[in-house]
């Protein structure tokens, strides 16, 4: 039994490693498909003025004279030794950039998920408490709005309304990390995490509603009620406790939305997170930055999925047993 579980975990990890290798190949091939290369990206139209000898020297310098397979594995090998490439714009290594931006996005993600759970779970339970009632309709309306209002529209609107009407624009000043200035940092996180949190609250609300409705119909709930378990305790411990599995899974799945949405929201609120790093890399045509950063994001995403999968095995005794 135990060895079976372990072998499942081993297989899952091996599969994840295979996927990550595929991701690396995909990212590498995708960026090689762009017309031009590192040289034309750096020099622009002036690259045309290079003599063949200069051209050759630069190609050798960037390793572009090597076969693609060699280039790929040398890039991959460099990644393992912490060499993620160099950003000429920032005059910094991509590793340093990433080490600075990743915690920012992580903080944003945590706040967004907490907000989403605070909005989604109670509203979902409320909607489920009486189906086809006014509160159910209200819950559905909130979730429809969350699914349908684009993050960039909500962010743009909130930013201008708060700045103009309430003079609240903490994101107008330079970004402060939590360690620099906790109060300013939290203020700067409010609107971005609200926008992202609202977007993910919708699927969480729907999942909570569906899961609660399903669990509530189970026999053990009727038994517990018959035994005289107080209603509040029944709803929280018995119903919500058993509805947690789909809610956790759905929350984990939303991490991808979060990382993608982070690109848009970080850009609008000038939050120097990992999404903004990708976008800047794309805008400045710094493909070393894009390549490594996209890979880091995919890695984070895959790890979170693995974690969700494990977590849901832990909270659900049925999955643990089967």
């Amino acid at each position: 039994m135990r060895s079976f579980v372990r072998s499942r975990v081993v297989r899952r990890v091996a599969g994840t490693l295979g996927t990550l290798f595929g991701v690396a190949v995909f990212v590498f091939v995708m960026l090689r498909a762009i017309p031009g290369n590192q040289i034309t990206a750096n020099l622009g139209t002036e690259a045309a003025a290079l003599t063949p000898a200069q051209q050759l020297a630069l190609e050798r310098y960037y390793g572009l004279d090597q076969p693609l397979v060699t280039q790929f594995f040398s890039w991959l090998g460099n990644l393992f030794t912490g060499n993620f490439g160099w950003s000429a714009r920032a005059q910094q290594s991509v590793l340093d950039l990433t080490l600075r931006s990743l915690p920012v996005t992580f903080e944003l993600a945590v706040f967004s998920i907490v907000l989403a759970l605070l909005i989604g779970v109670p509203l979902g339970m409320l909607a489920a408490s009486r189906t086809n009632s006014a509160r159910d309709a209200a819950g559905q309306a909130v979730s429809l709005a969350g699914l349908s209002i684009p993050a960039f529209l909500l962010a743009t609107t909130l930013l201008s309304v708060f700045a103009a009407s309430f003079g609240f624009n903490p994101n107008g000043q330079g970004f402060a990390t939590f360690l620099d200035d906790p109060l300013l940092n939290l203020q700067q996180m409010v609107l971005p995490s609200l926008v992202l949190g609202f977007g993910i609250a919708a699927p969480i609300l729907r999942t909570t509603r569906a899961a609660v409705l399903e669990v509530r119909a189970d026999d053990f709930v009727r038994t517990a009620r018959a035994k005289g378990v107080p209603e509040r305790r029944l709803q929280v411990r018995h119903v919500l406790g058993n509805a947690l599995v789909p809610i956790v899974t759905m929350t984990g799945l939303q991490f991808g939305y979060l990382l993608g949405g982070a690109v848009v929201v970080e850009q609008i609120f000038s939050v120097p997170g990992i999404g903004r790093q990708v976008l800047l890399g794309i805008q400045q045509k710094e493909y070393a930055v894009v390549q490594s950063t996209v890979l880091v994001i995919a890695l984070a995403f895959v790890l979170v999925n693995l974690l969700t999968d494990t977590l849901y095995r832990i909270i659900d005794p049925r999955v643990r047993a089967s």
């Binding site: 599969g15 295979g18 996927t19 990550l20 595929g22 991701v23 995909f26 990212v27 995708m30 960026l31 498909a33 762009i34 189906t131 086809n132 429809l144 699914l147 349908s148 209002i149 684009p150 993050a151 960039f152 529209l153 743009t156 609107t157 930013l159 201008s160 103009a164 409705l213 991490f255 991808g256 939305y257 979060l258 990382l259 993608g260 949405g261 690109v263 848009v264 850009q267 999404g275 990708v278 976008l279 794309i282 805008q283 894009v290 996209v294 994001i297 995919a298 995403f301 895959v302």
Partner: protein
Amino acid sequence: MTALLRRSPAGAAGVVILVVLAVLAALSYLGLLPYDPIAQQPPSRFLAPSGAHLFGTDQFGRDVFSRVAAGVGNSALIAVVAVAFATVVGTLGGLVSGFYRGIADGAIGGVTNVLFAFPPLLLALSLASVLERDWFTVAVAIAVVYVPIFIRVTRGPVLSLREIEYVRAAVSTGQSRWQIMLRHVLPNITSIIVIQVALSLSWAVLTEASLSFLGLGTPPPAPSLGSMIFEARSLVFVAPWTLIAPGAVVVLLVVGLNLLGDGLRDTLDPRNRGNR
């Protein structure tokens, strides 16, 4: 369709919204817009909404109504092409994967896992940034994101369908695998695919709008709802209509598609019958 309208008021509302927006898009395709959405008219900058300009004019004096209508046309075109591509490729992938199993399943599953390892918007963004920018490549970039979703959605049901008696009976009568897949398996998963198409269309519209907002979607001067909102963000207090009109329309479009998707799910998915 009539079942949808009868059984699901939400779905019916979605259909109504989409019909109105389809009329807008049709106006732009047929060249029946009141003004040229691209032509600049500097003297009539920032006109407030009026009879002549229903949604006012923008900073170049362009008619916002015409631009919004053309933007809906462009967004809808990109979303439809992207989802059509994803549906065909993804469904075929799911059919082959679930029906043949073995090596084909492993290979398709591997590709699916790799594509799923990217946050959706990030994948579309990266692809759109490396491809030559025009509406078609934007559609392709979005399509690639949705192919694995269609593969996942179809593969499971196909796996269980291939064990069902009438499919086995078809195998025993010596029909070719493709005949069986297309004639006996595919018709049984159409409702799943239809629901997924409606939901994917709403995501595709959102993705296209996000890409154009970030400057990676339909290149200017072609009007796109995302880039209109981007341009309007600094004009909110000078000419709020430049933000409100495209913003409201993009939300309506996505709401319409979501309602339609939910309605279809309630109507077509047998698991949902009765519990609503």
